[in-house]
């Protein structure tokens, strides 16, 4: 046994989980546990109580709302989302991101909501959510909160989620255009390790190959996953390699980039620009070959 002692409870409803969470300041929710359990093994986390939300049926679902939102329950396992064919059509970028999350054995247990609530700067699901401009819904004993992704990620491992809130679902916008492509790229030391830099892009084209919509985000390099506003300049005409690179470089050149002993700021910045440009172009190329996704 490596973790410090704790109490364990397994509520069957969200209400019960909220109630238990509000009773104990040092209690923590456990979903898939793929980050929390190692933290506990190293005693970096010492919760007094683990509230296991793994058996709350209402938190595991994947559904579409009015063809406009892909809504995924917080407790949905990453492995289940990875195998859900409707995600590739509804939110192609998310489908591209999922295989990059950890390893098969951690995706079996790890959850969509857990990854978002954990807010690791290198995590893929938060980056997909930020790049698509999604939102989350959380609940406390008293209220239901709807938080847009721009307001949700505050810093590394820090979110706007109140300590007494249970994350209920993540909402990914569904694009309506016919020709959509997406790409997800990542640089890390070994497959499945934390990304030094990751880049995600989703592009919609018209029948003449002109860009109708384009969104790009980078992760790993920045304290929170960051959507690049500058790529809005690509909308309205065909996307060339140089325009994609210029748009990415224009924004990434001036933002705060993290450093650690594995990858310097300069390296991460250079890679972020390259990966962002490549992601845009790969998404464009996929959109060209996709006559009608939906």
């Amino acid at each position: 046994m490596k973790a410090a002692s704790f109490e364990y409870s397994r509520p069957e409803t969200v209400e019960e989980a909220c109630w238990q969470l509000s009773r104990d300041d040092d209690a923590r929710l456990i979903a898939g546990g793929q980050t929390l359990v190692p933290m506990m093994a190293m005693r970096l986390a010492r919760p007094t109580r683990l509230i296991d939300i793994g058996r709350i049926p209402a938190l595991s679902f994947i559904r579409e709302e009015d063809g406009a939102q892909l809504v995924i329950g917080a407790m949905t396992r990453q492995a289940d989302a990875e195998r859900e064919p409707s995600i590739a059509a509804a939110a192609p970028l998310l489908a591209r991101a999922l295989p990059w999350v950890g390893h098969a054995a951690t995706r079996s247990r790890g959850t969509i909501g857990g990854s978002i609530a954990n807010a690791d700067p290198a995590a893929e699901i938060p980056l997909a959510l930020a790049t698509l401009g999604g939102s989350v819904i959380a609940r406390t004993e008293r209220e239901t909160l709807i938080i847009a992704v721009e307001d949700f990620f505050l810093g590394p491992m820090t979110t706007a989620l109140p300590p007494t809130a249970v994350l209920i679902e993540a909402r990914f916008p569904i694009w309506g255009q016919r020709r959509i492509g997406a790409a997800f790229l990542e640089i890390s030391a070994r497959a499945g390790d934390f990304a030094y830099v990751s880049a995600a892009a989703q592009v919609a084209l018209d029948d003449d190959g002109r860009c109708l919509a384009c969104t790009v985000g980078i992760g790993g390099a920045t304290p929170v996953p960051r959507r690049l506003a500058a790529v809005a300049a690509l909308v309205g005409s065909a996307i060339s390699e140089s325009r994609a690179r210029d748009a990415a470089a224009a924004e990434i050149a001036g933002i705060e980039i993290m450093t650690d002993p594995h990858a310097s700021t300069a390296y991460r910045r250079r890679v972020a620009i390259t990966l962002a440009a490549r992601a845009i172009l790969a998404a464009r190329d996929e959109a060209m070959t996709n006559e009608a996704r939906r």
Binding site: A3, F6, E7, Y8, G33, M42, L50, H103, G192
Partner: protein
């Protein structure tokens, strides 16, 4: 607290501290030592077991969380005691183990892969075992073993999942 661990088809009613990992419960309470304790924080894959048919790290779960779920360990792969599963046999044949520490985890990860995709590409095999660290073989013979097992699976004309 009392939990029921359903391991390799048999139910075990045991009393655990909440902080007891599934790995420790398997090894110490049930004496199933095939799941190996390596890093014990989710990096090495030596403790891989199957939970409801999917690979998972037994060190990253508390036994309490596994209450009632169907767990398969390396001890449960062979059809009869004393026999080897098709994958275990292939691992022996291609010399896919040296010290053997990673082997149960490798085989269970590969087993889950072949159940889902009986004819995986080499790339897919490498991805499936990318969460399992081996410090001896250099992985070549492990990939070979899984390819051999997949070929035999196809040749045997078995039902999917009979690896």
């Amino acid at each position: 607290m009392k939990v029921v661990l359903s391991v390799n088809g048999a139910d075990h009613h045991i009393d655990v501290e909440p902080r007891l990992t599934l790995l420790d419960a398997l090894r110490d309470a049930l004496r199933l030592t095939g799941a190996h304790a390596g890093c014990e924080h989710g990096v090495c894959g030596a403790c891989t077991v199957l939970i409801d048919g999917r690979p998972a790290r037994a060190c990253l779960m508390f036994a309490a969380q596994a209450d009632g779920l169907s767990i398969t360990t390396i001890e449960g792969l062979a059809s009869v005691p004393g026999e080897l599963s098709l994958l275990q046999d292939a691992f022996c044949e291609t010399h896919a183990m040296q010290c053997g520490y990673c082997t149960p985890g490798m085989i269970l990860s590969a087993h889950a892969l072949l159940r889902e995709d009986p004819a995986p590409s080499r790339e897919k095999i490498i991805d499936a075992i990318s969460g399992n660290i081996c410090r001896c073989t250099g992985y070549g013979q492990i990939v070979e073993a899984i390819e051999l097992a997949a070929r035999r699976l196809a040749g045997a004309n078995q039902k999917e999942g009979a690896a």
